[in-house]
C-alpha cells in the first residue's frame, strides 16, 4: 500500500522551510515584486540555514536532499514567494549538470566553494533563437590548442547577474546539430564574458534574469563537462531531475492562492452574508482545492519514482505541466474570488497569477512537456 504520510524528519524539514518562507520571505515578497529587487540578504540567510544548496551533496557542504525532500522545501518556499524560490531552484539547476557529469576533480573544484560560502550558479542553455530546440544552438565552442574558444549569446538566464559560475552549453560541431552540443563550466571572471542588464519581467521579480554574451572566451579542456557532444544528453538528464521541483514551486503558488481566496471568502460579505456561503464561491474553492491536491500528489509521485532510481520522464513532465497549469488556473480563480480587489496590486493575488505564468514556460514550456508526455505515452502502445 502506498503511504502518503511524511516521516518526522521530512516534517521538520518542511517546518523549517515553512517558517523561513513565512517569516523571512513573505513579508518582503510584495516590496521585492514592486521594485524588482533581488533580496540578497534573504538568499544569504537561506544559504546559512541550508535552504539554498538543496541538491548539493553533504560532502561538498550542501544539504544533500533527495528529490522528494527538495520538493517539500520548494513548495513551502514558493508559498512565501515564487520569485525568490526561482533563485533557489535556478541555482540547483546549475549544480545538477556538474553533479551528473562532472569528474571528481571538477566537483571538488567547482562545488566545494559553492558549499563553503554564499555563491550562486546559473544554467545557460536558452538562446535568443529558442530554448526548446538545442539542435539549432548558435553558441559555438571552437577547439583551440588544449582548450576551446566560446562565442555566442544566451538569454533569459536566471541568476546571471549574480552568479559566480555558469554552466554553458555550446556546440563543438554544428554539423552534428544536437549531437555536437557540449557543456562547459565558465567562471564569471573569464575574459570575454559580459552579463547584460536585468530583464524587466512580468513576475518572479525578486529573481534576476539577464542575457550573457561570450566573446571569444577561452575555456580549458579541463572545464568541459563530460565528452564532446555529450551536452544535449546532459541537459536532458539535468532537466529530468529539475522538472519536478517546478511542479512543487507551482503547487506552492497554487496553495497560497487557495489560502488567500478561502480566508477572504469568510470575511467578505455580499447580499448580507459572507461570500463563502454563496455556492458560486464554494464551487470555485472546491475546484481550486482539487487542483492543488492533484498537483501536489503528482509532484510527490514523480519525485518518489526518481528517488527510487527510475527515470520518471513521463511522470515529471505530467507533474510540471499539470501543476503549472493548475497554479495559473487557481491564481486566476483567486483573483475572481477577490473581485475588483483581486485586480489591485494592494492585494496579494494578482502577483500569484503573474508568478504562476512563468511556471508554464520555463524549464521546458508546457507545449514541449505535452510532446514528451505523448511520446512517452505512445511508447506503451507501440
Amino acid at each position: 500500500m502506498p503511504d502518503f504520510s511524511l516521516t518526522p524528519e521530512q516534517e521538520s524539514l518542511r517546518d523549517l522551510a515553512r517558517k523561513f518562507a513565512r517569516t523571512e520571505m513573505a513579508p518582503h515578497a510584495a516590496e521585492c515584486d514592486r521594485a524588482s529587487r533581488f533580496p540578497e540578504e534573504i538568499y544569504r540567510k537561506a544559504f546559512d540555514l541550508g535552504l539554498l544548496n538543496l541538491n548539493l551533496p553533504t560532502e561538498y557542504g550542501g544539504s544533500g536532499l533527495g528529490l522528494f525532500d527538495q520538493c517539500l522545501i520548494v513548495e513551502e518556499l514558493a508559498y512565501g514567494c515564487g520569485g525568490m524560490t526561482t533563485t533557489v531552484i535556478a541555482h540547483c539547476l546549475a549544480l545538477a549538470p556538474i553533479l551528473l557529469d562532472g569528474s571528481p576533480e571538477q566537483k571538488e573544484r567547482f562545488l566545494k566553494p559553492i558549499g563553503a560560502e554564499y555563491r550562486l550558479a546559473a544554467f545557460a542553455l536558452t538562446e535568443p533563437s529558442g530554448g526548446s530546440d538545442p539542435g539549432s544552438m548558435r553558441t559555438l565552442a571552437r577547439r583551440d590548442g588544449d582548450g576551446y574558444v566560446l562565442s555566442g549569446e544566451k538569454c533569459f538566464i536566471s541568476n546571471a547577474p549574480q552568479a559566480s559560475l555558469f554552466v554553458v552549453f555550446a556546440n563543438t560541431d554544428p554539423s552534428q546539430r544536437h549531437k555536437g552540443v557540449t557543456a562547459f563550466v565558465v567562471p564569471r571572471s573569464a575574459n570575454g564574458v559580459t552579463v547584460g542588464p536585468d530583464d524587466e519581467k512580468m513576475g518572479h521579480r525578486a529573481s534576476s534574469t539577464a542575457a550573457i554574451r561570450f566573446d571569444d572566451v577561452r575555456v580549458p579542456a579541463s572545464d568541459r563537462l563530460g565528452p564532446e557532444g555529450g551536452g544535449f544528453s546532459l541537459a536532458m538528464r539535468t532537466l529530468d531531475h529539475t522538472r519536478t521541483p517546478i511542479g512543487a514551486l507551482a503547487t506552492g503558488i497554487a496553495q497560497a492562492a487557495l489560502d488567500h481566496a478561502a480566508s477572504y471568502s469568510l470575511k467578505r460579505e455580499t447580499f448580507g452574508k459572507p461570500i463563502s456561503e454563496h455556492q458560486a464561491i464554494q464551487i470555485k474553492l472546491a475546484n481550486m482545492a482539487q487542483a492543488v491536491q492533484a498537483a501536489r500528489l503528482l509532484t510527490w509521485r514523480a519525485a518518489w519514482l526518481i528517488d527510487r532510481g527510475q527515470k520518471g520522464t513521463l511522470e515529471s513532465s505530467i507533474a510540471k505541466c499539470f501543476a503549472s497549469d493548475a497554479a495559473f488556473a487557481v491564481a486566476d480563480e483567486a483573483i475572481q474570488t477577490f473581485g475588483g480587489y483581486g485586480y489591485m496590486r494592494e492585494y496579494p493575488v494578482e502577483k500569484l497569477l503573474r508568478d504562476a505564468k512563468l511556471t508554464q514556460i520555463y524549464e521546458g514550456a508546457n507545449e514541449i512537456q505535452r510532446i514528451v508526455i505523448a511520446r512517452e505515452l505512445l511508447r506503451g502502445y507501440g
Binding site: P8, E9, L49
Partner: protein
C-alpha cells in the same frame, strides 16, 4: 559548565485547538507540538553560555508522552544541545506541573548539573510551577524571570538581570541553581537543515517515570471550553465627525444604556 535545560512540548500557536468529546481534554489528533517562547529562550541561553564557556555541555531533558516529547528533544538537539534525556510517559498522558517537576528532578539528579535552565512558564498552561518545584526537589535556589545570564568565571558567579514590575534588577548567584528564563529576549536561533537531519540520528536516553508518581498528576482539568464567539459589534457609518458623535451617543444611551 554542565548545563541542563528542561523543555516542554506545547501546542503550536498556529494550530487550531478543539476540545475532545469528553470536554475535559484537548483533541490532539491534528495538533503539532513545538518548543515555545520561554523554552526557546532557555535553550538559546544554554547555547550562548556554552559558546562563551568552552568545554561546557548542554543536556536537554523533557518529561511527557510520545511522539511530542521526542520531537521537542530532537528540535533542541538540532539547535545545538549535546545530550537528551526523555522521561517517557505513556501515550496521551501529559504530566501536571508538579508531576513534571518530580519526573524532571529525578532525571536531572541523575546527570551532571551545575546550572538548570527552564522557561519561566510553559506556553500552554502558563502554570509557572515547574522551575520552583524542581529547585525545591533538587535542594538548590531558583531565580525567575531572568534575562541576560552570564558566567563570571573569575568570581565563580552567575551574573544576570531579572525583569520585574518595578524595573530590571541586577543579580549575582553561585552555582548550582535553577534559573527560569523570560521569553524571547535573546532572539532564539533557527536550526539549520543539516543539523535537523543530524538530530534525527542522535541518541536520546529514555528513563521511565518514577512509579510512585501518578502519571496523570495530582491535578487535572475538569473542563475545557473555547471562548464564546464575540458578538454585538456595531459599525457606525457617518459623513461628518458631528454625525458620528451624535450616533455614538445615541447608541451608548439607548442600546448599551451606559448613560441614562
Amino acid at each position: 559548565m554542565e548545563i541542563v535545560v528542561c523543555v516542554k512540548p506545547v501546542p503550536d500557536a498556529e494550530t487550531r485547538l478543539r476540545t475532545a468529546a469528553d470536554g475535559s481534554t484537548l483533541d490532539i489528533e491534528a495538533v503539532k507540538f513545538v518548543l515555545t517562547g520561554y523554552d526557546e529562550s532557555a535553550v538559546e541561553q544554554a547555547l550562548l553560555l556554552k559558546e562563551a564557556n568552552p568545554g561546557s555541555k548542554v543536556h536537554v531533558v523533557s518529561a511527557g508522552p510520545p511522539p511530542r516529547t521526542e520531537e521537542v528533544l530532537r528540535a533542541s538537539l538540532a539547535l545545538g544541545c549535546d545530550l537528551a534525556t526523555w522521561v517517557e510517559m505513556p501515550p496521551g498522558v501529559a504530566p501536571d506541573p508538579v508531576s513534571a517537576a518530580r519526573a524532571l528532578a529525578r532525571a536531572v539528579a541523575a546527570v551532571p548539573h551545575e546550572l538548570v535552565l527552564c522557561g519561566k512558564n510553559a506556553g500552554d498552561d502558563e502554570a509557572g510551577v515547574v522551575a520552583g518545584a524542581l529547585a525545591e526537589l533538587l535542594g538548590v535556589p531558583d531565580y525567575s524571570a531572568v534575562l541576560d545570564l552570564r558566567w563570571d568565571a573569575a568570581a565563580s558567579r552567575l551574573r544576570f538581570q531579572r525583569s520585574t514590575e518595578a524595573g530590571v534588577e541586577k543579580w549575582e548567584a553561585p552555582l548550582p541553581c535553577v534559573v527560569a528564563l523570560q521569553q524571547a529576549w535573546n532572539d532564539p536561533r533557527t536550526a539549520k537543515l543539516p543539523a535537523i537531519l543530524k538530530s534525527r540520528r542522535l541518541p536520546i536516553a529514555k528513563v521511565p517515570p518514577e512509579a510512585a508518581i501518578p502519571a496523570t498528576g495530582t491535578t487535572r482539568p475538569t473542563k475545557f471550553e473555547l471562548p464564546p464567539p464575540r458578538t454585538g459589534a456595531k459599525l457606525i457609518e457617518f459623513k461628518t465627525p458631528e454625525e458620528a458623535a451624535q450616533k455614538l451617543v445615541k447608541v451608548l444611551k439607548e442600546d448599551a444604556k451606559v448613560f441614562p
